[in-house]
Each structure stands twice: as structure tokens, then as C-alpha cells.
Subunit: 779 residues, 2 copies
Amino acid sequence: MDKSTFLNHKKIAFFLFFSISVIFSLAQEKPVDLVYPHLDAANSRWFFFSSACRPFGLVNLSPDNELGGAWGSGYRYNTNEIKGFSHVHAWQLSAVSVLPVNGSAQDLKNNYFSAFSHEKEVVAPGYHKVELDRYKIKAELTSTTRVGFHKYTYENQDQKGIIVKLTGPNGPCDLTKGKIEKVNNREFSGYVVNDATRRRPNPTPVFFYIELDTKVKNLITWEGTNTNENSKGVEGAETGALITFENKTNKPVLMKVGISYTNAEEAKKNIQAELNHWDFEQVVADSKEEWNSWLSKIEVSGGTQNERIRFYTDLWHGLQGRRIISDASGAYSDFTGPERKIKQIPRDKNGTPKFNHHNFDAFWGAQWTINTLWPLVYPKVAGDFCNSMLLYYNDGGLIPRGPSGGNYTYVMVGASTTPFVVSTWMKGIHDFDINLAYEGLKKNHMPGGIMGKAGYEHNTSEGGGIEEYIEKGYVPFPRKPHIEGFHKDGAGMTMEYAFQDWTLAQLAKKLGKTEDYKTFLKRSNNWKNLFDTSYGFIRPKGIDGSWKTPYDPYQYQNDGFVESNAAQMTWYVPQDFKGLAELMGGEEAMANKLNNEFTIAQAHGFTSGKKHADETLEQARRIPINYGNQPSMQTAFIFNTIGVPWLTQKWSRAVIDSVYTGVSPFVGYNGDEDQGLMGTLAVLMKIGLFQLDGGTTEDPVYLIGSPVFDEINISLDNQYYQGKNFKISTENNSKKNIYVQSVTLNGNPLNRMYLLHSEITKGGELHLLMGPEPNKKLK
Amino acid sequence: MDKSTFLNHKKIAFFLFFSISVIFSLAQEKPVDLVYPHLDAANSRWFFFSSACRPFGLVNLSPDNELGGAWGSGYRYNTNEIKGFSHVHAWQLSAVSVLPVNGSAQDLKNNYFSAFSHEKEVVAPGYHKVELDRYKIKAELTSTTRVGFHKYTYENQDQKGIIVKLTGPNGPCDLTKGKIEKVNNREFSGYVVNDATRRRPNPTPVFFYIELDTKVKNLITWEGTNTNENSKGVEGAETGALITFENKTNKPVLMKVGISYTNAEEAKKNIQAELNHWDFEQVVADSKEEWNSWLSKIEVSGGTQNERIRFYTDLWHGLQGRRIISDASGAYSDFTGPERKIKQIPRDKNGTPKFNHHNFDAFWGAQWTINTLWPLVYPKVAGDFCNSMLLYYNDGGLIPRGPSGGNYTYVMVGASTTPFVVSTWMKGIHDFDINLAYEGLKKNHMPGGIMGKAGYEHNTSEGGGIEEYIEKGYVPFPRKPHIEGFHKDGAGMTMEYAFQDWTLAQLAKKLGKTEDYKTFLKRSNNWKNLFDTSYGFIRPKGIDGSWKTPYDPYQYQNDGFVESNAAQMTWYVPQDFKGLAELMGGEEAMANKLNNEFTIAQAHGFTSGKKHADETLEQARRIPINYGNQPSMQTAFIFNTIGVPWLTQKWSRAVIDSVYTGVSPFVGYNGDEDQGLMGTLAVLMKIGLFQLDGGTTEDPVYLIGSPVFDEINISLDNQYYQGKNFKISTENNSKKNIYVQSVTLNGNPLNRMYLLHSEITKGGELHLLMGPEPNKKLK
């Protein structure tokens, strides 16, 4: 073929790759190149989608197609209009949004959105390029941890500018107030205020500092209907701004936007600390390299390319969602009380903050996801989060449940962080003060702590029912009337508290606190008070001790369980599957029942519908096992503990094939991905390691499942672990050969289907021979 | 008021009474006058509706509005056209149909149906009057046991006649062949042949003999397209006849139609034996009197008039459905083999047949209905039916399941007559040969007997699974492929067989057959092999012993249970509720579960839809307890045996109020009334006596429920019982006061919630004090 044809072929191939927004080289496949950020983007919620951001980055800069509400906003694949580039997409939070434009303030201030098309879009970890069809502007986005970096190439040189949105709806938040101030011809500072929500009680400012490489012509600002064409700045409600440039400027406009939760000065210092040059491509490359380094901690080979693409996308999601909120300097905003206070994270001897402070969702379900992934693969992150929790404890008196912008939110129920802290400590990650942690965790498990609070119960501590849990041995459902808050589902609370109590008991034991150990161990049996032997399912009890009637184990609405039904929650007893088996008539009966529940769930595709909206359909919700939300996502691994690991192999592979498969904007996590939890779950099932108890015992246990790859190489962090890496290799693995025939560890037969934390972290190789029929002797 | 007004008022009142087709006098309310034959007539199947017939009458003569199929045919309230007056409406059977007309054979032979309206209709036990709008003929129907008696008043004297339908569709039967022969100017003989069906294997003739009080002008017959205007008779397919009269005859035409299953001669003799005069009104009065005498065996007072109307309609249904098939002479047709044989019932010393021979449905569910009603209130009937069964046993070698016209049909499954025969014997009704009966019953419970046959399994004995039941302890589901028959639902069969085995064991014990007692008692535990402790429900097992998967206890279709689901059938263990309680975690857990199932069922109105057609709706069928069919109709009384009789009181009253209430053509039995079974069930619940085990132990037990009337007087048959009557009286009974506060028997406190057969049959009074709250100490 001649050269032009060759070039055309290259162009076509280039287009094809970019059309699924994945940049990778066939020659040397790098994990970062396999990430597909568009996964599930047709169904995404405000904080789901990411492009220009770093691991746990404070800034996650990306285009917004929809602006209304927490669900259905942000980047939405099916909406072909861009309404701005917001710098923060977090749980109950947003920050300043900008958009390059051509035109006058008068024409644009109420109407600056632009159409775009996916054909001309490139999305990758750390990079996003779109063309704004209305303006013919090519906009490129990248970031450091705390700075958004923009590159705008204007085709039309007339009336070039950048809209700075200071107020109005922005995802889950209403920006009620904002400020922009011209510092000089290239710099601006300001903030936007996220109004209080039912969940986040304090109106929360997020600050920005803008630096441009191009001299500004004018700052045009408006406040209501008044426009100031040559402004020094504006502050207030219904404000906004247009930064304009001279027409003659032909080169692209570069803009850095530092973000901070403390003040604009810190936002500026974040730029100084992280981005002291103007080489946009270098930052794109750095970001890519950083992502690749994180993602390469687990290297996989084998499987199809699509499976690897999906795997690294899952892993990438496991590093999204929960975000840094402290500045590069270690300054942070404490908003646990009514007044916002600026505080400082302790510094090490070099003056560097000892850890980062974070936003995070409830850790609700974390015991089956990031409890395993982070301490094993990213131990520093696990330690950082524990320190973050203790910072909240110091500041506000409680280890939080879902803090947002420094605020407590009390999302979901229970002391859901306990298993995470216990697991981190048990795994030898001792970066935090365990005595303080124990004090805080124990407080959470007692009246006055987080177990006393229902979802979003800010002003009282009645909804959690901790007193009734201690006194009666269960939290009643229905609760007494007029209690504040959401998720007042006593039976679900009881199940969660009992498990969390058990994990705290393990820590108490480890720390030599024998009395506490006994107390919490006893409480961990409370789930049995709600086991109805006549149905073989957990069933809510009322205030007077009578069973809930009518009761339907598969009912979802008003059923006494949090985002689940009784059938799903019955399996929520990792602390005592033996006890559950006994109540069900033995391990065989229990295995049989769970197998049947899986068989029925399979007919529904293992999820309550294929997207969050489906979950409102009564029939979809009646599913016995739901892999679209956290409460029953551990169930496939229960078989491992009751003598039938081949059923774990069967069902975990079936769930992967049905739920955590596919690479398109229209499939993904079938419900609520919850800030990386479901991505993490997929990673664990695909590498075949799972911790039913969240890894909360001494030398924690990892159950062995059915890995989907030929080889999985986990790099171990030598700051924490003795070994260099741990390899999981499989032989004869295929879509049909899903059953483990035999297992060796470092060449020696392993006559069990689990590993200890110490066995993994000293490095070595687990080898699994696979086949098409189960080896039922392997237990 | 003046006399004319008074008369008008009387006329209006008269019309009102007749408009609900109930003739009664307010002065002295007679049970027969309270019967409302139109109940549920909008939903009736071929054999449901009755008017001109006697208790268990061979003839049940009534208009047919629809002719196609077993369901939805016969008298259908919403169809305002009459297509004939058929003389037999039975399980898989019909007989000759006639209709008075005006017109020529040419005009009428393919088109003689007539519109009618309910406004001019009168229906009562033993009487039916309609006006045929097309002809302006007033047609009145009454009957003796074996003779239909017609009175036709023609307004138009031209071309008067009577169509005699010999062939064509007639409900569940296709009349493939017929014959009519002119005997003389006032008499005709003939037959119709009901073609074989899937259920009834032999084409079955039913004979008639017609006698008219009016001289006939011509017999016009046709065969296909050939018409004979002056015929001596016709025989064959596609035949029919028109009997014509002289125009001048001004008086009504009276016609007797004797029916016989043996031959036309016996049909004539049936007329001679039962109807030797032409006084139509006298027969109407006799029929009414006979019905009143039967219905008065239970006299009730209190409740609303509507409740009494519904009660006697329920009781009247309990005496319908199963019908005499022997002639007045005792001749009968034995069709248990391929050849029809005419045989003779043994005669007593006066030459009278010792009993009547019968058709009957399967006795499937009879243990909870006619097992109690007939032996207690109509003991002679119970004995007669036992003798009928033994006659079949002598003739065909099997005690039958649903014989029709002398044929075996093998409807439903199991040895469903066993509990009835045992109960009859245990109650001291010793009219039959118990040794022969025991031999026949035992045969049915062993390979080669009726338990070996699935529904309608005529040619093989594989479908019943008796061998597997004996060998494995359960009948598998699914069965091995290619087995003949219906209802091959192994789990349901196992449940039924186990209970039936237990009742046979009771009889074996009574008869001193200790080995048999042990054998059948052991087999009666087989239900436990299908109890899945992990769900607390019965669950089918496959051939290899593995549980059915997927399994959903509320699934109805292909679920392994006969016309029910696992949830409903789990309660089918009257032989061992203590054992069931143990498996469910104790009596309290079991009571709680059953109470919950009732609470859920209540939201569905306790029935799987409101009519038979609804039962095909998946959602309706998922009901936990169904009072629209037999399998779970005992459940309300289970509470009585596990320490919470107040829940029996609560739920039996709730079921009555929701299901067995209302008096209109559009409500009734909410499904399948099955030849009087559901009517009988309603009677038992309304009088507050129920036998969970079908009354099959020595001195059988009657559980006490919550009667709806102030006084219930049961007349005892002094041929069988010592006492004259047994009275149940209640005090403070009302819609709110449904709970029994205290009980006395003959004035003495009764510290239990049951009576023995001997206590009832020696006569006396049970007195219940009622109140609005349960007395939970009363157990």
C-alpha cells in the first residue's frame, strides 16, 4: 500500500480508538490507557463521572450537561449540550464552573450553553477535550490534585472570553452567592457558596484563584440585571462574570484554577505548590503517569481486551469519589459546628502535612469493597482516611458518617466506618493513633454516638435507636413517630450494628480491652433476635416486640431495611454464618437456600434493574440478591464459608458476566456505584480475593474466589509490607473453566480456600488450576 | 290507604321479592324460601347452577344460556338468551335438551334460541319460570329426582311445538349421536350420546322417555339436511326433532321427561315410580317441601336476613353437584370397563334398592367440607356414597376418583375418598361393608391403586408416583418425562398422600390391623421429607433428591403443587401440626407465620381473584392463603390447634365477611365452587364447627370457631344418633363481637375449644359468650 493509504488507515484507527475514548497502544498496553471514563456515563449522577482529576483529587474538573439535582446531573452522555466545566463534583458539593465563549455579556449571561458531540471528544484519566460547537472552541482540561488546568483554542478571535459562573443551580447544590475579584490583568480570586441542603447543614463556600497566561481585556460582571462592563469584581446573589480577551490574541488561552475549601489565598498557594509552569501537555502527561502508577499496582494479563478495559475502569472508579479537602499547605475547613473554622493538619518534621483530609460518603458497604482494596494495594490511602476520621473526631467529637466540605452529614445509618478502621489497623497500617481511634469508635457505638442517629438526623439522636438496641436487643420497626431523619429502618440498623459491634469487639480484643470485647461480642448476636425461624429470614420487630405484620421478605418499600429487603439483609451476618446456618437447618440447607436465591436473582440479571431509576419499580426491587447496591453484594462469597466454595466460583463469575461486564456509556454498575464501591467490588471479584468480615480479625482472612485473568500481580507497598508483590496465577482459565480444581501457594498445595493477610503481604504466588466442573472436595 | 293502593304495594313488594328470585314469607321464614339460586350465576360453570332439581337429583333441569365448554357454559346470568332446557348438568355429562317454540322445523332447526329477561324470571329450589321473548311462551320447570316436569304456556297458538335437541355441543359434552322414537301420540323415547372426553373415556348415552298431556300433531325429525315431516323417529349423528301440537289446544302443554343412564325403559319406569299424576303445582310444592325438609336440618336465627339467605344458599349448594345415577328400580350403568353393563343395586327385603348410586367429583378437599356436613346432618347420604364407592370397587376394582356416568375419570390426584369413608365409619354410620371398604381403600394407597394414577391417567399407572413415594418418601417434581395425565405435581401429591395415609392408619387401628396402622402412620410423615427448614415451607424435590431450583414459595405455575402454591400447601398437614410447629421454630412462630400469611392474603380478599378466570393471573395466584379453592381452605382453623383459637375466630370471620358474603349473581365463591364444597365450607365456618383432620379419628373432634348466628339448631337423624338435636347458641354476637369469651356445654364450662362427635350426637347445647376483644386464656 502507498503511504497516503497507510495514513488514512492510521487516521481511521485513531478515530476508532478515540470514539470509545480510550487511548492505548497495542504494543505496550498500559493500565491507564485501558480506562474507559465513559462507562455508565448515560446513567451517571453528579459525582460519578471523572476526567480531569488525580487520584482522590480535590479538583475533579469535567463538563456538565445537566445541572439539576444530585441524581441525573453532571456529565450525562445522552445530553449533547455543555453547560459549564465545574471544578468539584463531590458528595453534596460543587465549586466554580467556567466556560470559554465568544460574544458579549449581554448576549451570553443568560444563555451561554453550547452543543457538542462525542465524535470530537477525547476523554481519558486526567484529560478531557471537547469542541464547543456553538463557538467552535476546542476546550481541553487537565488538573493537578487541587488545580484545574484549562486550554482553550478559539477559532473565532472576536469577543473571546470565559464565563465564570458564580451562582445558580449546580448539581446537588444551589450556588446562592458568589464573588469574583480582579487581582490584576491575569489573576482573579473568588468563591461560590453551596447553599445548605437537607443533608449538609451549613452553607459551604468553595474558593478559587484564577491565573491566566493571556492578558485580560475586561472583567465584565453582573448582579441581577445590572451589568458592569469594566468591573473590579462583584459579590452577592445572582452574580456572574465574563472575562474577555483582546481579539488579536491568536494562541490558545491557558487558565489555572486553584480550588480551596479554606480561602482564596490557599487556592492560590495550591497553584504555587502544584503547578508552577504553563506546559499544558506536561500536566496531561504527568496526570496520565500518576494514574498509570496507581492503576499499575494491580497488573493483569489474560482475559479479553474488553475485560481488561473494564477491569481498569473498575479499579479507577475505586480511586474516585472520596476526595481530598485539605490544601497543599495542610490548611482545612472544619465545619463540624455551626461556625466554619480554618485549621491546620499536623506537619511532619519537613513541614509537610502528615496526611490529607477528606470528604467521604458513609463507608456504607465499605467492609466488602475498599476495606480490602485500599489497605492491601494503597495502604497509605487507608491510613490517611483513618487520620481524616480522627481529625473530625477531634474537631467535632464524632467520627463522621459521610462528611461533606467539613460538614457532618450523617448519611445512611450505623457506625459504618468502624470495620474500615479496624481492618486498616489489623492489617498493620499503624499511621494513626489507635487509642484515640478506639475511643472514637466506641463512642459511635454507644448512646450519644453515630449509632444514635438516623440518616441526616442533625439536631437529635433518636433515630438511630441505640438505646433500644442495647435494652431490647434490636432497633424496632416501625419507630415511634416524629423522629427526625431518614432510613429509620430498625431491622436493617440492627443487622448493621451487630456486625459493626463484632468488628469493634475484635479491635477491643486486640487492644486487650476484655470487658469491651465481651460487651460488643454479646451485642453482635442481636441479629438473632430478628431471625424468624418460621420464614428463615430476618424480620422486623415492633416497639412491643411483635413481628412486623404484614411481612413479605421480598418487599422493599417501608420494610424496615435500608435500601434493601429482608431477603437481601438476612445474609448480613459475616460475624456468624455458622449461627445463621444453624437457624436455617444446617449448612447444607443454608447453601441450598442461598443458591436458590441466586437462581431467582439471575433471572433479574442479579440487579434491581439496570440503572438507579429502575430501583423504584416494585417488581425489580423484589429481587432476593441485588448486585446493584451494597447490602447484599457479599453474598456470592458466603458459599466459601459453608463448605461449597464451588458455588462462590459459580455465582461470582455469573455476577461478573452479567453485571460487571460491558464497556459502553449505557452499561456499568446497574444502580448506585456509590463513589467507587461497586467498581471496587468488581475488582475484588475479578482478582478472586474477598473479605466477608471486611478483614477485621487479627491477621485477616481473604477468601479465594474465581479470578477472571491468567495472571494478577499486586505490587506491595514496601513502606508497609515485607513482600514486593503477590501474584495470583490461573491455568486453563476461560469462560467455561470457572471452577477451581486445585490450589497451591508458593508451589505447595493449599488445602483451604482462603489466605491470611500475612501470607499475601510477605509476597508469593497463589496458583489455581481451573476446569469446567467443580472439584467439590476442595473446601 | 285504600284497597287499590294496598294491592299496588303488594304487587311492588311481590315484584321485589321475585326480582331477587327468593320467595319467602316474612311471617314464617322457611329455609327453602331463603335460597337464592342466582348466587354467582354470572360466573357459573356447567354444573354449578340449579333450579328444577331435588337433593342429589339425577335430573337437574335448567335453562342453558351458553353451550360451549365445561367452564362458562350452562346458566350464565349475563347472557340473555336461552338455548335449551337440559336435564342433566353434571361433571362431564349432559342429557337431552328441549325448548318450546312456535314455528316450522325449516325455520327453527338451526335457529331456535330465544331471548329472555331476568325481570320476568322466577327461580327457586325446585322451580324455574322464564318467558321466552321470541315466542312469548311462559315455560315452567320442576322435577322429581329422576324426572323433569315442564309446563309450557303458549300465547301464540300457531305452530306450537317442542324442539328436542339430540346432537351438538352441550356444555362439557359434544352430543355426537341421538335418537328419538315415537311410541304413541303422547310418548317418545330416545337417548343422546355424550362423546368421550379426555376425562371420561367412554362415549356415554343418557336415555329419556317423554310423556305429554297433549296429543301430538306430528313428530318432525331431521338428520343433516334431510327433514322428515311425519316421522316415526330418527337415530344418528346431526339429528334433531320437533314435536308439534294442534293449534287449537288452548291449555298449557305439560311434559314429563324421565331420564336414565341405563335405558329408555328405565327412564319410563322412573316416571312411573316418581310422577304418576299431572299436577304441576303439586310437584313444585313437593319439591319445595323436600328442599325445606333437608335445609331445615340446620335452623339458624339471628344475623341479618341477607346472612340467612346466603347461609341457606351455601347449604343448598352443599346438597348439589354430586348426583344420583341409578334408576328408581336400582338399575345402573357400570362403565368402569370399556363395555357398558346394566347392573342392579342390591334390594332390601321390601324390594327397594338399598342405596342410590352416584356420580361424584374427586372428593378432593372433602375432608374439610362434606366430611363434616354429611355424616353429621345427612348421615344416610354419607352412607349411600360409601356404598356407591364400594359398588364401583366391586365393578371396576377401584374405589374411584370422580366417576362420571359410571365411568372412571381419575380426576385430580390421590386417594381423596379415603378420609370421607374413614370419617363416615368413625362417626358410627355403619351402612356399608367396612372390611370391603378397607380392602378397597388400602388398594388405593398401594401400587396398582388410585395413588398410582395422575389426573385422567386412564391407560397407565405411572403418574401418581406411588412407588417413588414408598421408596423415596416423596413423589418427585418434576416427574420423569412422557408420563400420561395431568396434575403431575409430586410435592402436592406427597402432601395429600401423607394425610390420606394417616386417615387410613386411623381406620387400620380401629379395625385392629396393627401392622397396617404402623405402615401408614410411618408414611404419613413423608411430608417432612419436603419441608425446607431454610424457608419454612414445603418445597418440591427432584428425582435425584435435590430441591427444586429456582423455587419461589408463592409461585403457582409449574410449581409442583396441585392448583396451589408451596406457601398454601405447607399447611396441609392436619395429621401433624405439632411436627410442623417444631420445624417452624415452635407453636408461637408457626402461629405468627400463619397470621402473617393471612394478613397478606387479606389484602387480596383471601382469594386468588374473584372468579375462576382470575386464577390465571400470576399476581392473583401468588396469594399465601386462597379461600377460592380447596388446598388451603382449612387454614383459619389451624390456630385452634396451636394455642391461639382467637386467631381462628378472627380470620374465619374475616374470611366469611370477605369471601362468603353477599347475595347477587355477581358474587359467590370466587373461583371454583366444586360441586358444593365451598358452599359447605361456608356453612361450617358460619356454624363454627370444623374438622381439620376430616373427622377421621375415633370419636372425631370438631373444632369450635366463631359462629355468625345467635342460634343454630342441628337436627340429628335418629336412625343414626341418640340425640334429637344439637344447639349452638351465642350471646352478644355481632360483626364486632367475633371473639369467644367463654364456652359452656349443656351449662357446664367447657375448658377447651373443641367438641367430640359423641358429645354432639347425644344432643345438647353449646353456648358461646362473644365479645369485641379476644379472651386469650381460652385455648
